[in-house]
Structure formats: C-alpha cells, structure tokens
C-alpha cells in the first residue's frame, strides 16, 4: 500500500517542480528546480525497488544540474531573474503541442490493459544480475556507449576551445 502513495507523492513533487522550471525568472532557481525534478524521479525509482538506478540517478543528476546552473549564469542575460524579461516565444502553439503529447501518453496509460504484478529480486540480487547483464549480453552496447562517450567528450572540448594554435 505504501508504494502507490510514495509514487504519487514524488510524482506530484516532480510535476510541480517541472512547472517551476519554466515559470520562474531566476536562472539558478530554474536549474535547481530541475534538480528537484530529478531527485523526485530518483525517489520514484527507489520506491519502485530499483535501488541501484535510484541512487545512480540522485548522484549523477546533482552534479549535472549544478553544472547546468553555472552555464546558465554564464550565458543568460539576467541570471538573478530580477528584470522580469519575457523569455518565451510561440507560447500558444508550444502549449498545444505539450498538451497533445501529454494527452497521448495519458490515453495510452489509462486505456491499455498492461497487466503486471510480478515478483522483483532483492537489491543485492538485482546488483549481481545487472552486473552479469552488462558484462554478458549487453557487452557490445556497453563498449560502444563507452567509445561514443569518449568521442563526444573530445568533440565537445574541441568545439569549445577558443583558439587553435
């Protein structure tokens, strides 16, 4: 019984902070509100007994969103949000697209008979099985992802260098 309550609570928190991300005019608060969305998602993962994914989500998103905060302070014109500038365009069509996307997802969620309710392994067992999965069946995906990440890191650094010697 606790699981739907926890999921519902964290879900409401995530939605509220996601709305705050795009409504607040202070840039650092916007980035920290996005962090709060990710923390709420991490909480839902932990409530769904995916312990490793929940802890990993909490850890990675904290550093990622703080780095996003510093980039916002660097590149945006009014990081403190004290100027009350209008930062949006085509609000009505954007709202329409967003509402359509949400409606499609909601329809699928409610009107399809998904089934479910199976037993989950213990967290220690989950860690072990995930490790076996990474090193066994998904090894090719893992290696390809690793090389792609390295290439992307080098490319992003190369793009951002100011002056070639």
């Amino acid at each position: 019984m606790g699981q739907p309550i926890a999921v519902g609570f964290f879900g409401v928190v995530a939605i509220w902070f996601a709305i705050t991300v795009f409504r607040t005019s202070s840039m650092v608060r916007s980035a920290l509100a996005l962090l709060a969305v990710m923390v709420a998602l991490g909480g839902i993962f932990l409530a769904l007994e995916a312990e490793f994914l929940g802890v990993l989500q909490l850890m990675m998103m904290a550093s990622e969103m703080t780095i996003m905060a510093i980039f916002m302070v660097m590149y945006m014109m009014d990081p403190g949000g004290l100027g009350q500038m209008e930062m949006t365009h085509q609000k009505r069509s954007a709202g329409l697209v967003g509402a359509l996307g949400a409606l499609g997802g909601v329809t699928l969620a409610v009107f399809v008979a998904w089934g479910g309710g199976a037993t989950v392994p213990t967290p220690t067992g989950q860690l072990r099985l995930l490790g076996l999965e990474i090193m066994g069946r998904s090894m090719l995906i893992f290696e390809t992802a690793g090389v792609t990440i390295l290439v992307a890191m080098i490319a992003a650094t190369a793009v951002a260098i100011a002056r070639w010697r």
């Binding site: 991300v21 909601v106 992802a145 890191m153």
Partner: protein
Amino acid sequence: MTLTLCLLVGAVLFGIGLYGAFSQTNLVMIMMGVEVMLGAAMLNLVAFWRFLHPQAFSGQMFVLIVMTVMALEAAVGFGLATARFRAKGSVEMEEAAELKG
C-alpha cells in the same frame, strides 16, 4: 494500478518538457526541456521493467544508457553553446537565423 500512476506522471512530465523545449528562446532552457522529457522516458522505462518484466535486466541497462546519454548530450550542448557565445555574444535561438531561407 501503480503502473498506471507511473505512466500518468511520465506522460505529464513529457508534456511539460515538450512545452518547455518549444516555448523557450534560450539554448540552455531548451536543453532543460529535453532533460525533463528524457527523465519522463526513464520513469516509464523503470515502471515497465518493475511491473511487466522484473527478471529482464536489459530494461535497467536501457535506463543506464539513457542516463549516460542525458549527461553526454548536455555536455555536447554546452560545448556548442560556448562556441556560439564566443562567436556571436548570445545563445538566443531567435537570433540564430543565418541558415534560414
């Protein structure tokens, strides 16, 4: 029932992220909209893994890959934003019309 609840939350988050990605003019804010959408997708993945196939760990593998790609796409996006800022002095996407028409 919990599965439907998770999918509902994921759908609403996806809609909010889509609205944000379409309505914001600044590159960093657009990227934040994309991050919210990816977060909603990850939530759906974990919910499907937990309630439909808890024995198949390729679901968790998928979530790991999506999490890594989120971080990566943010990094590459910020590299592009740095280059653009150095060239033009701002990252407003309304002014990025050089290739238009």
